[in-house]
């Protein structure tokens, strides 16, 4: 594990750049797919363009931020209970 040359191909910076690019292409294609599928919404808004995409993104960001906020109050060192 001395230099970049010996790293596993999957963790080389070049591969990771390509993974990001591929990811963005995939995300774009998935959003565009909404033009081609026939939505059958249950509550109107879930049939609008890009709903599942933005809903997934926004709720996940919200959950991470909420967890972060809760962590401020409830996080303790993992040795907290060691003397019990």
């Amino acid at each position: 594990m001395s230099g970049t040359e010996e790293k596993h191909w999957l963790v080389r910076p070049k591969t990771i750049r390509w993974l990001w690019r591929g990811g963005f292409v995939l995300l774009t294609l998935l959003v565009l797919a909404d033009f081609f599928i026939h939505a059958h919404p249950s509550f109107q808004i879930d049939g609008t363009f890009g709903f599942y995409s933005w809903y997934g993104l926004v709720t996940c960001v919200a959950m991470v931020l909420f967890a972060k906020g809760l962590g401020v109050f409830l996080k303790r060192k993992d040795t907290y209970y060691d003397n019990d």
């Binding site: 997934g56 993104l57 996940c60 409830l74 303790r76």
Partner: protein, 563 residues
């Protein structure tokens, strides 16, 4: 003897006690054969109730066989088999015995047709699962198993008192659908919910499951919570309160798993999350929802065991459990990584995995029943599952940074167990009919429509995108997050300690004050007498008094003579 003379659970329950007395080779055979025998018995059960006896005025039904009870008994038997295969090299025979008694009693519980025999198996499960934890040995394992045992004894007591009230109210102990509208049924529901890790007593699960052995956790993850799901499904379908409890559990599981650093605690919180989906479905209570719950319980047992087996393999090979110590293991543990990823995809309900065909039924049932807010919550939660378990677990354990650890894959039996369950996760995803045909109600649901597949992929991929752009916020730290167990591990003990120290101090102060008063009174008395008459007081020696008495007597004698 026919198939219905022997409750399938008893094969495991009593067969377990053969394990310590036979040799190593026979033990390995028994570990694999006993669950298969049980599975054979379950599959050959005809519909109906059997093995009926009576206790006092009540009827005990040890065997109620219908599609729902057979579905759970089937997946429990499969779990015992694959769990046994995974634990084949487990050195602690005590854990294996406990795990098999535990599995057997869980099968006994789901096949029970009345509340009394259910309660008997329920309590055997509590003791046996405690022994699985206890078998690890050491001080920490002792304290964690005692905490676990206390919570389950509380749940068992609530259940027992509930059953007694219910029997008084209705004159029957038959286990049928109820409503939580009397003291008896409310207590029964509370007892069930404690085993489902519902709030407020949900912390027992993450507290205990992360402390069992590499194989013990695999057994623990399957039986207790899913037996609770079964009894809720049987006993309280359509009880509205379960929707709210379930939604709470779903988000509690996600939030706590996001904050967690211990890999098995991440997965433990994610059990609460998944059971939350099932509890919500039971609350919705339509045929479609209940089908979805039963299917999801089946799928969940398989992929959760798979995830915990891959975490257990990492623990077994490295002895490490914290995300901060792990990472980069994919290079030397390809099979464990791959199986872990399959489990992670299944729990996230990716198309072509078991989670996709089961969880989506619950979501669809919420939409069909017009529970709009519930539906939006469930959708957010589906995205959240990918976030907290689907990506977080494999990313931090197998990828992330390079920890420098290069352990090989675990021994063949552990690899085989993981491959079997990974295959089952994908197989159920490709051929959902196998599972749908076992469900209690006829299934008309079609999971694979283009719209559904695309929508699910959009949701999950953007959830994954959120994970990677928020990665700096997700950095693991050497922390735990306080949970409800804080109240009984910290607040209650320290409050009691404070109370005792107050009582001690008050008692001490009272004694001191009393002694002080006593001394003061004595001093006051002596001072008083000294002050009023110095003639007769203590400053004169006793001898002088004797002399003066003698003088008075002599004078008296003298006067009597001259009289």
């Amino acid at each position: 003897m026919t198939m219905t003379d022997l409750p399938p659970g008893l094969v495991l329950l009593f067969g377990a006690f053969l394990l310590p007395i036979v040799g190593k080779n026979v033990r390995s055979i028994l570990i694999l054969a006993l669950p298969l025998m049980t599975l054979g018995l379950v599959w050959n059960l005809p519909n109906g109730t059997f093995l009926i006896s009576s206790m006092l005025d009540y009827e005990l039904v040890f065997l109620r066989s219908d599609p729902l009870s057979r579905l759970f008994a089937t997946v429990f038997s499969i779990m015992a088999f694959v769990g046994g295969l995974y634990a084949l090299k487990q050195k602690s025979v005590m854990e294996l015995v406990a795990a098999f008694v535990y599995a057997g009693s869980a099968i006994g519980a789901v096949l029970s047709g009345d509340l009394i025999s259910l309660f008997i198996f329920w309590e055997i499960m509590a003791v046996a699962s405690t022994m699985v934890l206890f078998s690890v040995g050491g001080k920490q394992s002792y304290s964690v198993s005692m905490r676990y045992f206390m919570v389950h004894m509380l749940g068992g007591s609530l259940l027992l008192v509930g059953i007694l009230f219910y029997a008084l109210d209705t004159g029957s102990t038959a286990f049928t659908a109820m409503q939580p509208n009397s003291l008896g049924t409310i207590l029964i529901l509370a007892g069930f919910l404690i085993n489902a890790a519902a709030p407020p007593l949900s912390a027992w699960l993450s507290d205990a499951y992360s402390e069992a052995s590499f194989s013990g956790t695999v057994f623990l993850s399957a039986f207790t919570t899913k037996t609770a799901v079964y009894v809720l499904l049987r006993g309280f379908p359509g009880s509205e309160i379960l929707i709210y409890i379930g939604i709470f559990m779903i988000f509690y599981g996600i939030i706590y798993a996001l904050l967690e650093n211990d890999m098995r605690r991440i997965l433990a919180y994610s059990i609460v999350n998944q059971v939350g989906f099932m509890v919500t479905g039971i609350g919705i209570g339509t045929e479609m929802a209940l089908n979805g719950v039963a299917a999801h319980a089946f799928a969940h047992i398989v992929y959760k065991a798979l995830l915990l087996m891959s975490a257990g393999s990492v623990l077994y090979m490295t002895g490490k459990r914290k995300c901060t110590d792990l990472g980069g293991l994919f290079q030397s543990m390809p099979i464990t990584t791959l199986c872990g990823i399959v489990g992670a995809l299944a729990i996230s309900s990716f198309p072509l995995t078991s989670g996709f065909i089961s969880k989506s039924m619950i979501g669809q049932s919420a939409a069909d029943a017009n529970f709009m807010i519930v539906w939006f919550f469930l959708l957010a939660a589906s995205a959240g599952v990918f976030l907290h378990a689907g990506i977080k677990f494999p990313w931090f354990v197998f990828f992330q940074k390079d920890s420098g650890l290069r352990p090989p894959d675990p021994p063949w039996n552990m690899r085989l167990a993981m491959i079997l369950f990974a295959g089952l996760c994908i197989g159920l995803g490709i051929w959902p009919e196998f599972l749908y045909n076992m469900l209690p109600y006829p299934v008309t649901y079609k999971p694979y429509t283009v719209t559904h597949v695309v929508n699910m992929l959009q949701l999950l991929m953007f959830s994954g995108f959120a994970f990677f752009i928020m990665l700096p916020l997700m950095r693991r730290t050497l922390t735990i997050t306080l949970d409800f167990d804080w109240f009984y591990r910290r607040v209650a003990p320290s409050a009691l300690q404070r109370l005792f120290s107050i009582i001690y101090k008050a008692d001490n102060a009272l004694r001191q004050a009393f002694l002080l008063k006593l001394n003061q009174s004595l001093a006051f008395l002596s001072l008083k007498h000294k002050g009023t008459s110095s003639l007769l007081s203590h400053t004169y020696p006793a001898g002088s008094m004797v002399m003066w008495v003698a003088v008075i007597l002599a004078a008296y004698l003298f006067l009597s003579f001259i009289h």
